[in-house]
């Protein structure tokens, strides 16, 4: 049953909604159930899984207008879920970052949770207030990285998923 539910949610859903206002328009980019597969054995300390986001936000902006361009972007919510439903057993911290192959773009840490709140399959991360990610939304591809800090080594694989919401302005 769980597998079937997963299959339903495996597909990343991107939803863009626009609203008119003075000056630049505002929109929301939602990433739902993006998967982070940690291949075991996992080391004590930080382990990284990456998600390659190869969807060009510019393509989606065409929903609002042919020549739209994203001006600014900000992460407004980040939730990480334990897909194995083990209440983040063994995990004591989570850090979310963005990276790109573009030499002009530096890696940006965008959210953190340390320590993990106990006994839950869902964790809301604290957002970086000064992360500059506007230029990532000019790229056709970026890496979303999830670092899971483990208290001790684990011989299993681990699967976490994330729901991210970005607010963008465009014109």
């Amino acid at each position: 049953m769980r597998k079937i539910l997963y299959a339903l949610f495996l597909v990343m859903l991107i939803f863009l909604s626009g609203c008119s206002g003075e000056g630049a328009e505002k929109g929301t980019v939602l990433l739902r159930n993006i998967e982070f597969d940690f291949s075991g054995p996992l080391d004590a300390g930080s382990n990284t899984a990456q998600y390659e986001w190869s969807i060009n936000p510019k393509d989606h902006l065409r929903m609002w207008g042919e020549n739209s361009e994203i001006k600014t972007a900000k992460l407004v919510s980040a939730t990480v879920n334990d897909a194995d439903e083990l209440e983040f057993d063994g995990v004591n911290s989570l850090v979310l970052s963005l990276s790109s192959n573009n030499a002009d773009l530096s890696m940006a840490e965008i959210a953190v949770l340390n320590p993990i709140k106990a006994k839950s399959n869902k964790q809301e991360l604290n957002l970086a207030q000064e992360a500059e990610i506007d230029d990532y939304f000019q790229e056709s591809m970026m890496y979303i990285l999830l670092d899971a800090g483990l208290a001790e080594a684990i011989d299993d694989d681990m699967k976490l998923t994330a729901d991210l919401t970005f607010e963008v302005t465009y014109d």
Partner: protein, 164 residues
């Protein structure tokens, strides 16, 4: 006889050239990947590749706990106050390095968690187990070089998830 020797030499050079070209192309800059120890021995940094760039994160600290709080150290000097509880063990202190050939990786930065400063940085592999890490502000001539040594780390056996 002389002509035969010349052809043989040329052929050898050609083969050697093809071999080294193949080696360079195949290998790229991935020989940087591994666990390294700075000269002060206070930390160990694991270098990995994400996309086409190289990053190094702290995987071991000689003094992992904050002497005041007794809790695991965090990035308490991060200029972004909201990120000061990022664990130091796991922090990427080397970021965004691009392999330029000739055992040199450039365009990256190195972060000093002791003061929260980020410096431009170049990495030069002087032999397969030694790196010259040069941090600088502005021009490379005005900087400091530290020598890092490669470590071989054995994986520790772990437990199963959910069966503590």
């Amino acid at each position: 006889m002389m002509k035969k020797a010349t052809i043989l030499s040329l052929f050898s050079i050609l083969i050697l050239g093809i071999y080294s070209f193949t080696f360079q192309t195949k290998d790229g800059g991935d020989r940087l990947i591994g666990v390294w120890e700075p000269s002060n021995g206070r930390a160990r940094v694991k270098i990995n590749k994400i996309g086409s760039k190289y990053f190094g994160k702290i995987v071991w600290l000689k003094e992992p706990k904050d002497p005041v709080s007794g809790k695991p150290k965090t990035d308490k000097n991060n200029p972004d106050e909201s990120m000061r509880n990022v664990p130091l063990r796991g922090y990427r202190m080397l970021k965004d390095f691009i392999y330029k050939g000739d055992d040199v990786w450039e365009e990256g930065t190195i972060y000093d968690p002791l003061n929260g400063s980020t410096y431009n940085c170049t990495i030069k592999m002087t032999n397969k187990n030694t790196l010259d890490i040069r941090g600088y502000i502005g021009v490379s001539a005005l900087g400091r070089t530290d020598v890092w040594k490669r470590l071989k780390i054995k994986k520790k056996k772990g437990r199963k998830r959910g069966r503590k």
